[in-house]
Amino acid sequence: MSIDWIKLLFTLLGLFIVLNYGLLQYGMIRRITARIGKRIGMPVYQPYIDLIKNYSMRSQITHGVMFYLGPVFRLAGGVGIFMFMPLIYGSYYWSNYSFSGDVILIMYFMFFGMLGMALGASEGGHPYSFIGISRGLSQFTTVEVPFTLAVIAVAVQHHSFSLTEIVAGQQGGIMHWNIMTNPFAGIAAMLAFLGMMMASPFNVVQAPQEIPIGPPTEYHGTYLGLLQTNRAILYVSESILMVNLFFGGATNWIELIVKSFLVFFWPVFVGLVFPRFRIDQSIPWFLKLPLILGIIGIFMV
């Protein structure tokens, strides 16, 4: 098997762009959040400082092999989603490794990092980790239901699971976007997206002030650095996934960044308005309105 080195370079470049974009985006959102709370907030470049600090910490501890591997799984999961995602429609080099599999691969690859991280954190043995993980997994089960329905609806509509095909089918103006052609599926997916991003009111997993900070409690230094890197990449990748599925994809980087920023802003906006659900509230929530919308969405096709 021959390796297309140029494509690999483009992919890494894309990864680098997304990483920086993710860090800046995070900084920006934190700042916006602070302003809404009438605080000044941290500088936009603060995530860079955190990252550099964490990677350069010298004394570190480990609780065992799985603990050590947890963040690796987590970051591999995030990067994996990025790798299998086509970024720019119509560009061979910016389609990453999306030829390896379609949207199903991406959906299942989300679990890869999640489970690996869960296992790593568990070896740390901290009760908060366990509680956070059990909450996260529980909530995730129902979050995925409306999302899956929405993805199936889109796939049926375009007769393909291939993200490239799905984006191709949405070209030609805003009225061709799936959010317009199948608003029910689109809304169901956007509601599920709230849960996927785990922002308030669905932030029971890390639940600041309650089980600070849940699964990563025991992680510090480079481990935490990896997790922060992942956060930047993963959140952007998931936003790009939503853009590809429902908002017509993107034909250039500007479009991609604008769209994904707006998509990303949606959970932030909701999170600032609504307080946290308890776990037994958040689990069934997704089986109510979002599920019904998802079902309608699938029968709309």
């Binding site: 690796v72 299998f84 390896s100 691969l105 299942y108 489970l115 296992l119 901290h126 995730f140 199936i152």
Partner: protein
């Protein structure tokens, strides 16, 4: 050849001689009796052999020098030869068995025994009605005499009730004989063929017939008989069951030619009602002798059905009746005799048999034989009977037989299970002198020999049936060897068998796959058995039986072979489950559900014979229009084994309570038999409808609900094995769903997942077995942090759960990916999403499984644990390698599997472009995904290693914990009720409806049986009334309310 009349004359002379003897010569008298019975046996036996070999012609003996009808004639044909041989041989063995009793009893008892035997012989041989009456009376009096061999109030009152009953019966019989004589002018049956044609003659026939039917103890006019069984000496109970009843039934057989055709089926129905209801009532019976009484009466009822319908059964008649007759003869006599040895009617006391391996084995064989499981004759007889009834559209009859059989299995195996698990300390040892053992051993051997002849007669395939049966038999014979040797031998014989069978099935991918799963699974799951010490008596024969039963399913030449393999596998696995420490109840449940499934299947085979003739159900090639009912019956039967929701309640108990190292076999391997069956019907029957509903659609929903239900139930389990067991339910739901899609891709998913589930489930159960072997507990919250001491087991579980979860890059993802494509193509979005949801729910219990056991806080008492033994790990890692290969090159498995699926199945197939799998919807390249993941993982890992190369390993409790340092792992390890929040949110989904339903069924049937039993008041007058009422009802039904 000695004239058959000398059977009688020897008996008479002996009776006189015994009268001359003195009390002091009792031993000699017993010897005389023994010799006499031996002589009688030899006479009838020589006739039997003579007629069988053709060296002697059947004959009639004329008494008093006249020909019938002017004198009495005794007939000796094949029929009489068989029955008199049975009677006399039984008499001979009874004398041996009762040696100690007879020695001390006084000479009268000896005479009574002889008279009893003479009576039965003449009843069998005579052709004269009045002579029959006389000898029935003689036998009755002798029976009453035998009843009071034990002289307690119970047996005396039972004897008295018997006399009341038999006088009522004799009255009816005598009036009938008088009528017959007045119409025909003679008393010989052979001259009465036109009796029923004469006006009023039918009344005579009715009276004679009804008297004999009453004598054969039909339900519900049989309270007197039950009391006899309950109170008589076991040897006498044995005589009632093994020889009296057949002799009376033979009389009915003799009478059938004079009975009008139109009555036959009604009598048959009455017999069947007896069979069903006696077995039903027996389910509530704890007293062994009474229970055996119920069972004997039930078998009598079944035989009455066969006898009365002998013309209907035609050529199969002999096969069927001999199957029932001989099994009942050997097994029932054997059980009564064992009862005499154990000397208790308390099921718990029977546990003492466990100290006598040979007797215990025979006990099991007798129970299994009566229950009608292979390879015993009843099994084949029942099969043939059902097939014949199906040919004649006797669906109601089949339902009754199958219901009765289920009840029969219920009480027989409850008994067996109790004996298997009775507490040692509560058992007093028993004396088993040689003269009590010899008859049991002989009859046991005879039963096995009969089974052999039945199997031989049916001409089964040598390689696929006879060889496996032989191997299983050998393992019974060598059961005294050490476990290590037997394990090695079984693995070796499976390997050699695989080598022998391979050329036969080479080229047939379907057979290769399933044979591979069963054989390789069998071999690999046996490997951990090397840790067993001692002989592990009773394990290997049944392990062999299970595995070879499974193998029989793969290449059945016909439906019977398949069914036989199925039943054999069920029996073997039942014993494997029963061997667990607390497995009595779960094993009983397993047996009941297995039997239920098997009988549904039997009914389906009957229907199939009716619809499609004698074709093997897997070879129908999509051609069975209107076979909806057949399909549903098959589907239910297989879904029972695959534990579809509602039919799953046996599974968690059975899998978790089986011995830890046997669980992988009975779960991961065996459950695929259900998949095999489902796959076969899915491909063979074509689309089917029932009442206008598409059955596949319904099955699809069942599959989806099963998937969710199984996985939901798993997440709240604290017991490691129960958790994995429930996960099997979920996986089976997934497979059922995939099969019901009835598309090329759907079937491919089902097959692929079957293989995959086999691999990871076997692996997980073995790993669990290894952990339990070390920790000595199954509760996950009592474990934690075991990754340090058992890293290899951890890796196996990790690989297993990633595969199960279907995460890329491991092999499970192939199943999920194909699944989406198939669902979208089929258009089953909602069901598909449900199954998908179940897959995510699985994450919860998978996490709980691995985190509670291997991660988190190590417990103090586990600090010195070692890794699981090598023999546990070896097969696990073979499976791990298999998963790894499949993960990178799924086409290795998927491409051959796709060739199994017939072309006529609709839908798009999976395409391959090199390593890229494609459908019209999506694509996926396992190799490429794996490469990307590996590279990415390695780079990030390298990055981490570079940055934290100086990371220090810290002690267990060195964690950030709110200014406090925890010391107790128990309070720090979060495991118990881990998903409490989930339970609060969605717990209502787990309302145990199925358990409630089945408990309700069980409770209600118990209550009804209890209520019905109160019909037997124990009052002799009531019993007499029952007899008259029975005759009256029979009359009304036969005559249709008119005068005959």
């Amino acid at each position: 050849m000695v004239s058959p009349v000398h059977i009688v004359s020897i008996g008479l002379i002996t009776a006189f001689l015994l009268g001359l003897g003195k009390k002091s010569q009792q031993s000699i008298l017993v010897l005389v009796l023994l010799i006499a019975t031996a002589a009688m046996t030899m006479i009838s036996g020589s006739w039997l052999i003579g007629i069988m070999t053709g060296s002697v012609q059947p004959t009639d003996v004329f008494t008093a020098g006249f020909k019938p009808p002017f004198a009495i004639n005794l007939r000796m044909t094949m029929d009489e030869a068989v029955l008199t041989t049975m009677v006399n041989l039984f008499g001979f063995l009874t004398v041996i068995y009762l040696f100690d009793v007879l020695k001390n009893a006084g000479k009268h008892l000896l005479s009574i025994i002889v008279v009893f035997l003479i009576g039965l012989n003449v009843i069998v041989m005579t052709r004269d009605l009045f002579n029959l009456f006389v000898f029935l009376e003689i036998t009755s009096i002798a029976t009453a005499g035998l009843m009071i061999m034990i002289q307690d109030s119970k047996s005396i009152s039972a004897g008295f009730k018997f006399l009341i009953a038999s006088s009522v019966i004799s009255g009816i019989l005598l009036i009938g004989i008088i009528f017959a004589y007045s119409y025909i002018g003679n008393l010989n049956i052979d001259f009465m063929s036109n009796l029923s044609l004469i006006k009023g003659g039918s009344v005579a026939v009715f009276l004679v017939l009804s008297a004999i039917i009453l004598e054969s103890k039909q339900f519900p006019a049989n309270g007197w008989a039950l009391d006899m069984y309950e109170s008589a000496h076991p040897a006498i109970g044995s005589a009632l069951s093994a020889v009296s009843a057949p002799a009376v039934l033979f009389v009915i057989y003799k009478l059938m030619p004079i009975v009008p055709e139109s009555w036959h089926s009604l009598i048959g129905l009455f017999g069947l009602i007896t069979f069903t209801f006696s077995n039903f009532l027996a389910t509530r019976q704890g007293n062994i002798r009474r229970m055996l009484g119920y069972s004997s009466i039930a078998q009598g009822g079944l035989m009455l059905t066969v006898v009365s319908m002998s013309t209907f059964f035609g050529n199969s008649f002999w096969f069927i009746i001999l199957g029932f007759l001989l099994t009942n003869f050997f097994a029932k006599a054997g059980l009564f005799w064992l009862n005499g040895m154990v000397n208790s009617d308390d099921q718990n006391k029977w546990g003492v048999l466990r100290k006598r391996p040979v007797l215990f084995f025979l006990f099991g064989a007798f129970v299994v034989a009566i229950a009608g499981l292979p390879p015993f004759p009843t099994f084949f007889a029942k099969w043939e009977m059902i097939m014949q009834l199906a040919n004649g559209n006797g669906w109601g009859w089949i339902v009754l037989i199958l219901l009765g059989s289920i009840f029969e299995i219920s009480f027989l195996f409850k008994w067996f299970g109790r004996v298997f698990h009775a507490e040692e300390e509560k058992i007093n040892d028993i004396r088993t002198p040689w003269f009590k053992q010899v008859p049991v051993l002989l009859f046991g051997a005879a039963l096995l020999a009969t089974s052999y002849y039945f199997v031989e007669y049916l001409n089964f395939d040598v390689l696929f049936v006879m060889l496996p049966l032989l191997i299983v038999t050998v393992f019974f014979a060598i059961d005294f060897l050490p476990a290590f040797v037997k394990n090695l031998l079984l693995i070796a014989s499976l390997t050699i068998y695989g080598y022998l069978i391979y050329p036969e099935i080479d080229g047939n991918v379907m057979q290769l796959v399933f044979m591979g799963v069963f054989l390789v699974g069998g071999i690999l799951t046996l490997i951990p058995g090397f840790t067993q010490k001692g002989t592990r008596a009773g394990f290997y024969p049944f392990a062999a039986m299970t595995i070879f039963g499974l193998i029989m399913l793969v290449n059945p030449a016909d439906n019977l072979t398949f069914f036989m393999g199925w039943e054999q596998m069920a029996l073997g696995s039942y014993i494997l489950i029963l061997r667990g420490k607390k497995a009595e109840r779960p094993a009983q449940q397993y047996m009941l559900f297995s039997a239920g499934g098997a009988y549904l299947m039997l009914a389906a085979f009957g229907l199939l014979l009716h619809f499609a003739g004698d074709t093997f159900f897997g070879h129908l090639n999509g051609m069975l229009p209107g076979g909806g009912v057949v399909f549903v019956l098959f589907a239910l039967a297989f879904m029972l084994k695959a534990a579809a929701i509602g039919l799953h309640i046996w599974l968690p108990g059975a899998y978790s309570e089986a011995e830890d190292d046997a669980t992988p076999l009975v779960s991961g391997v065996l459950i695929n038999s259900g998949v095999l069956g489902l796959f076969w019907i899915a491909t063979a029957f074509g689309p089917q409808q029932l009442f206008g509903y598409d059955i596949y659609q319904i099955m699809g929903w069942v599959g989806a609900i099963t998937a969710i239900g199984g996985n939901m139930l798993a997440i709240y389990e604290e017991d490691m094995k129960r958790l994995i067991a429930y996960s099997s339910v979920g996986a089976m739901g997934y497979i059922i769903f995939a099969l019901s899609m009835n598309s090329k891709l759907g079937l491919l998913i089902a097959l692929y997942y079957m293989v995959l589930h086999f691999i990871y489930k076997t692996m997980l159960f073995m790993s669990a077995a290894g952990v339990i072997y070390r920790t000595k507990t199954r509760n996950m919250y009592e474990m934690g942090g075991l990754i340090k001491s058992m890293p290899w087991s951890f890796i196996v579980v990790l690989i297993g759960i990633i595969t199960l979860a279907g995460m890329p890059p491991l092999a499970g993802f192939a199943g999920k990916w194909m699944f989406y494509n198939a669902v979208v193509m089929k258009g089953w979005y909602l069901q598909g999403t449900m199954v998908f949801f179940s897959g995510i729910v699985a994450f919860l219990y998978l996490y709980k499984l691995i985190a509670s056991v291997f991660l988190g806080q190590l417990k103090d008492n586990h600090r010195k644990l070692k890794e699981a033994p090598f023999v546990y790990l070896l097969p696990q890692f073979i499976f791990v390698i298999a998963i790894m290969v499949l993960s990178v090159f799924p086409q290795v498995l998927l491409e051959p599997l796709a060739t199994i699926i017939p072309d006529r199945i609709p839908g798009e197939a999976l395409h391959w472009d090199g390593k890229l799998a494609m459908t019209s919807f999506g694509y996926w390249n396992a190799f490429s995904v794996m490469s990307v993941v590996i590279v990415m993982f390695a780079v990030i890992f390298g990055w981490l290693v570079y940055h934290s190369r100086k990371a220090q390993k810290v002690k267990q409790f060195n964690i950030v914990f709110a200014a406090e340092r925890p010391f107790r792992p128990e309070t720090t390890h979060v495991s118990y009720n881990m998903f409490a929040g989930y339970k609060k949110a969605l717990g209502w989904l787990m309302t145990p409806l199925a358990t409630r339903f089945w408990t309700g069924v069980s409770d209600w049937s118990m209550a009804i049986a209890d209520k019905m039993r109160s019909w037997y008041t124990g009052n002799g007058q009531t019993y007499a009334m029952h007899l008259l009422l029975y005759a009256f009802v029979l009359y009304l039904l036969i005559s249709g309310g008119k005068i005959l």
